[in-house]
């Protein structure tokens, strides 16, 4: 009787693992439009920087700090994204566990970790803020310039700014990359530029104006952008690596 089958069986039995090992995948981000029309106003962004991260992909249908205590992939850092550049910008590497993901959660560079007493911008956030914008609004013969720095932070300690972001579902396989697309111009769609124009010829530092008068149109504009940053989240796609 040959021993070969037994030896082969033994060798076969010795192989295997508890699952596929973790791998790293590129994380890229790109901007979308730089210009939008809001009523009679044409708004052109001349600067749009966003702090992206930390970012987590989750197997659960609705990612949250409670339902996604263990992530399937993560970018545990913050990187600045130039939203004016439509080309993919490498932000770093994503740590990935193979498997299917259905949701994501992320911060815009400002975190409120479970161990933090209050929200705080992480290293890598542009200017220590979640986002920084500058642009020009033109309507007929009227125009003005504006700048705005925004802090968009989690509302609850230990949570994420954006939770329950549905994605895919897609399988995280080695050889893929995560691509994030952010339409920064769309975040200004809810701003009342007529009211901002009434403030004067500009340029308007919206943060300074809002600090002077919390009821000013500048404060409303900042609130509208903050709301849009939550309501119009980035789009995430798992693509084959080039």
């Amino acid at each position: 009787m040959s021993l070969r089958p037994a030896i082969l069986l033994l060798l076969c039995a010795a192989c295997g693992a508890t699952g596929e090992p973790a791998f790293r995948a590129p994380l890229r981000a790109r901007g979308a439009a730089t210009e939008l029309t809001v009523g009679a106003w044409t708004v052109t962004l001349t600067r749009a920087e966003l702090g992206l991260g930390p970012l987590y992909l989750c197997a659960t249908a609705a990612a949250s700090s409670e339902l996604c205590a263990t992530a399937a992939a993560e970018f545990a850092a913050v990187a600045a994204v130039d939203l004016l550049d439509p080309q993919p910008q490498p932000l770093g590497e994503l740590e990935v566990l193979p498997g299917q993901v259905r949701s994501a959660m992320l911060d815009y560079g400002v975190t409120w970790l479970k161990t933090q007493a209050k929200p705080r911008a992480q290293e890598g956030a542009p200017g220590g803020r979640a986002a920084r914008f500058a642009g020009t609004a033109v309507s007929g013969d009227m125009s003005f310039e504006f700048t705005a720095d925004l802090d968009v932070a989690p509302v609850l300690r230990g949570s994420r700014t954006l939770e329950g972001l549905r994605i895919g579902p897609f399988e995280l396989d080695p050889g893929g990359a995560l691509e994030v697309t952010v339409d920064g111009a769309a975040w200004w769609a809810g701003v009342e530029f007529d009211e901002l124009a009434a403030l004067g010829p500009g340029p308007h530092d919206l943060n300074a104006l809002a600090a002077e008068d919390p009821a000013s149109p500048a404060a409303d504009a900042l609130a509208a952008v903050r709301f849009a940053m939550i309501a119009v989240p980035p789009r995430l796609a798992w693509t084959a690596e080039e």
């Binding site: 033994l10 039995a13 010795a14 295997g16 693992a17 508890t18 699952g19 596929e20 090992p21 973790a22 991260g53 930390p54 987590y56 197997a59 659960t60 249908a61 700090s65 409670e66 339902l67 996604c68 205590a69 263990t70 992530a71 992939a73 993560e74 545990a76 850092a77 913050v78 740590e95 566990l97 193979p98 498997g99 299917q100 259905r102 975190t111 970790l113 479970k114 161990t115 933090q116 992480q122 290293e123 609850l156 300690r157 230990g158």
Partner: protein, 872 residues
């Protein structure tokens, strides 16, 4: 037609195979290896010859156990005879390949010292002396002689010629032809501690192997069984973690652990189902351990999934033992052990205190244990044993560390996170129990056994595995206060066991049958609480569990023993257990703060279920020293009570266990070999969940592998044992879906985490008298124990580092004093007692990772202990 021919041929072959006579091999009586002369009590000198007769239990390891004076010659002569025979060493009696304890009659004759003409020189112990142990065994089925537990006829005794001393003035030794020189064995089975094996992997680790390498606890002794790995990962005052043949049984979830009639697994324990804390057992009182790897015996009950373990508590070496141990890390242990001479080996009292500073931050501990046992004979042929024990311990726990934090230098390998929550980790345990066992042996193997027990066991721990990841359930705004999980489990329970084995029925010379029926019952009242604490004040900031569980288990089994001639034995039957739970979950139907209150919090429910299954084993012995085994059985593990819904039929985790193998004992039993191949299928496995600090379901699993064990006793003073176990443990289906992960990743053939594929163990023990010094032997004892674990798979494709551990001891004894040294982890390996892979946040990085990371609990470094033992 062809099938009929095959059946006929098989029957004929079986009939030819089955020679007339009873099935099991006869008992070969013990023979003395080392004798010590009795000293004539000159103060009580008489002019006539004084005769003393002793009934002496020769244990399976060859040592002299209990002695009883059958015929007294006066207290001084009785004591002299007992003192002498206690120093004798025997080649143990054997039934087939198994050493068994027997009771023999040993007469002593003290001739008067004033009659020098009668004095004969005492026989020396030199090998040249003709061995007086050769009388041919004579079968003795007479009812006057108690029969063995499995109704084997007691063979004749081979009592050595007693040899009192001839010191000057020379008292006489036994004259040749002294009466009762060939008294038969009085009783074989009453002390035959272990039933015959059910399978090739039904092991008994005897005292000589247990005592070979140094041991810090009784649980450490388990590592000498094939395929067993034992670690004290969490620290002192917490139960050991046991891996048995491919099962990471954690604190006992997959192993039925008993000490005689006393079950040690705790049902529905908050820290882990089947939690079994063995720290109350004084290791010096463990005579042997039976490790049954697999489920083949109808007596195996709840938690017998990987198998079962039974501790046999007795002290063969009688007298008073005072043992002090001290050494590394300010560790100190004091033992007092009293085993009254002339009493049964099962009669003893022991107490020990252990204190240590620990091998790193927050690892100190203090424990005390006391236990006593009294074996007695009662009217009507009943024999009994009362056992009582108490134990208390408290210790600091260092917890686990992230590998990446250690690699980055954020924390030392043996340290704890320098954090109030980490430094507040601790555990305490306390227990007290009482048991009574009764046994009555009848003719032709009939045995009736009864046992009752009660136990109060308390467990309290504060452990933080994950750092700062938890959010309050009661107050969701409370977060990041530290995941210091407080668990309390207080269990008061009691139970009983009954069994009766019928007398052997032999309708034909080649056929023998016996039947045993038994029942067991236990009931527990369990108080459980789990909270989150905020260090350092240990303020409660969240409540997770507040429950009372009443758990009951009523089991019934039947076991048929059929022997066909000398060579074929078929045993088997069935077992059924009814489990009932009444759960008062005081936090059930919890109302979160953001919900409208529509009811009152609390959920009371009951559930009952039945677990039943067959067990069978076939043994074929083609030659007396070879036995082939095939075995199959179904076992079960009861569910965690709080996971049951109202009316649920108790979803037991059922295991199908099968094995084939061989046991050999050539060279007169000096060499013992067992080899087995096995496969085990489990319906629902559990794995440790660090977030909740308890076990969670992982799905159905399969284990297949092989085990090889070799024990050699080539010389009376040398024992060597080695084993290799290989197992391939895989998940058979994806883990259960959860809200967190609706489709857990699964690859066919995916390895089961935490199970080491290869476990190697080696033990060597030397116990020898070297030279005479001042008229007393100078003895040397050396022991080595080596364990190897191949890399253990961890979740998410990770593997733990392999483990190499070498422990060694050496001691010199002279008269009543023994001085020794014990070294643990002699290779000074930096090793992880256990490893996990999970998410944690200890504040060592600006943004915490939510990916699983490798964590470990450090194993003890090189430790050196000195021992001083006085034995009176």
């Amino acid at each position: 037609m062809s099938r009929a021919r095959v059946t006929l041929c098989a029957c004929l072959a079986a009939c030819l195979w089955a020679a007339p006579g009873w099935a099991a091999p006869a008992v070969v009586p013990p023979s003395p290896r080392h004798r010590v002369d009795a000293v004539y009590p000159l103060a009580e000198a008489r002019s006539d010859t004084v005769a003393v007769e002793l009934a002496v239990t020769v244990e399976a390891d060859g040592r002299v156990g209990a002695t009883e004076v059958l015929k007294s010659g006066g207290a001084a002569f009785d004591d002299a005879a007992v003192a002498a025979v206690k120093q004798w060493r025997f080649e143990p009696a054997r039934r087939g390949d198994l050493p068994v304890a027997v009771k023999i009659r040993v007469p002593f004759s003290f001739a008067p010292p004033v009659q020098p003409a009668d004095v004969e020189p005492a026989p020396s112990d030199s090998p040249a002396q003709p061995a007086p142990s050769d009388p041919s065994p004579a079968p003795s089925d007479s009812p006057a002689q108690p029969a063995s537990s499995d109704s084997q006829p007691a063979p004749s005794a081979t009592p050595k010629q007693p040899v009192p001393s001839t010191t000057s003035p020379a008292p006489s030794t036994t004259p040749p032809g002294a009466p009762s020189d060939s008294e038969p064995v009085l009783d074989v089975a009453a002390r035959s501690r272990r039933p015959p094996p059910r399978a090739a992997s039904d092991f008994v680790v005897e005292r000589d192997i247990l005592a070979a390498p140094p041991r810090q606890s009784a649980a450490d002794m388990l590592s000498s069984a094939p395929g067993v790995y034992v670690a004290r990962a969490e620290g002192e005052a917490v139960a050991h973690e046991i891996t048995l043949r491919g099962f990471n049984a954690a604190h006992g979830q997959d192993i039925e652990i008993t000490a005689g009639a006393l079950p040690l697994n705790q049902v529905s324990h908050l820290h882990g189902q089947g939690y079994a804390d063995l720290n109350w057992i004084v290791p010096e009182t463990v005579r042997s351990i039976r490790v049954t790897e697999g489920v083949y015996d109808p007596r195996q009950g709840d938690f017998a999934v990987a198998g079962s373990i039974d501790f046999d508590l007795a002290v063969p070496r009688r007298g008073v033992q005072l043992r002090s141990t001290g050494g590394s890390f300010a560790t100190f242990r004091q033992l007092v052990l009293w085993a009254p001479k002339g009493q049964e080996d099962e009669t003893f009292a022991a107490a020990a205190v252990r204190r240590t500073r620990g091998f790193g931050i927050n690892r100190g501990g203090l424990s005390g244990m006391a236990m006593g046992q009294f074996a007695f004979s009662a009217a009507g042929g009943w024999r009994g044993k009362v056992h009582v024990a108490a134990y208390a311990a408290r210790a600091g726990l260092a917890g686990v560390l992230r590998r990446d934090d250690v690699a980055a230098g954020d924390v030392g390998f043996y340290d704890s996170y320098g954090d109030p929550s980490a430094n507040s980790q601790s555990a305490s345990a306390a227990r007290g129990h009482l048991s009574l066992e009764l046994e009555r042996r009848g003719e032709r193997g009939a045995v009736t056994r009864m046992a009752v027990w009660t136990a109060l066991v308390d467990f309290h721990s504060r452990e933080n595995f994950t750092g700062y990841t938890q959010r309050g359930v009661v107050m969701p705004m409370w977060v990041g206060r530290g995941d210091l999980i407080e668990q309390q489990n207080r269990d008061f329970g009691g139970g009983m066991r009954l069994s009766h084995r019928t007398a052997g029925w032999r309708p034909a010379p080649w056929f023998h049958a016996a039947f045993e029926v038994g029942a067991s019952a236990r009931i527990h009242n369990i108080q459980q609480a789990q909270n989150l604490l905020q260090a350092p004040q240990n303020e409660t900031w969240d409540r997770r569990v507040d429950a009372t569980v009443l758990a009951s288990d009523v089991g019934l089994y039947g076991d048929l023993d059929l022997r066909f001639g000398k060579r074929v034995r078929l045993r088997g039957g069935g077992r059924a257990d009814v489990l009932h739970y009444d759960i008062d979950d005081r936090l059930g139907n919890f109302i979160a703060p953001y919900q409208i209150e529509s009811h009152l919090v609390g959920h009371r429910r009951t559930a009952t279920g039945v677990a039943a299954g067959p067990r069978v084993s076939l043994e074929v012995a083609p030659v007396p020293w070879v036995s082939l085994f095939a075995a199959y059985g179904q076992g079960y593990r009861s569910p965690q009570a709080r996971q049951l819904d109202e009316g649920e039929r108790a979803p037991f985790a059922k295991v199908h266990s099968t094995e084939g193998g061989v046991r050999m004992s050539p060279l007169g039993g000096r060499l013992q070999l067992s080899a087995a191949g096995f496969a085990t299928f489990l319906a629902q496995d559990l794995a440790f969940d660090p977030e909740e600090g308890r076990l969670e379901k992982v799905g159905p699993t399969r284990r297949a592998g092989a085990a090889l064990q070799l024990i050699a006793r080539p010389l009376p003073w040398l024992v060597a044992a080695g084993s290799v176990t290989y197992v391939h443990a895989v998940l058979r289906a994806p883990p259960p879906a959860t809200a967190e992960n609706p489709s857990p990743p699964y690859v066919p053939g995916q390895l089961l985490p935490y199970v080491p594929p290869v476990v190697v163990r080696g033990d060597i023990g030397i116990d020898k008298d070297l030279v005479e010094l001042g008229g007393h032997p100078l003895g040397l004892r050396v022991g080595l124990g080596y364990s190897y674990l191949s890399p253990r798979p961890l979740p998410y494709g990770q593997f733990a580092d392999p483990v190499h551990l070498l422990d060694a001891s050496a001691a010199v004894r002279w008269r009543v004093v023994e001085v020794g040294v014990e070294v643990f982890n002699l290779l000074a390996r930096r090793w992880a007692a256990t490893e996990y892979n999970f998410v944690s946040d200890w504040g060592t990085r600006p943004i915490p990772s939510l990916l699983p990371a490798r964590h470990f609990a450090a194993g003890p470094p090189l430790s050196v202990m000195g021992t001083l033992t006085l034995h009176f």
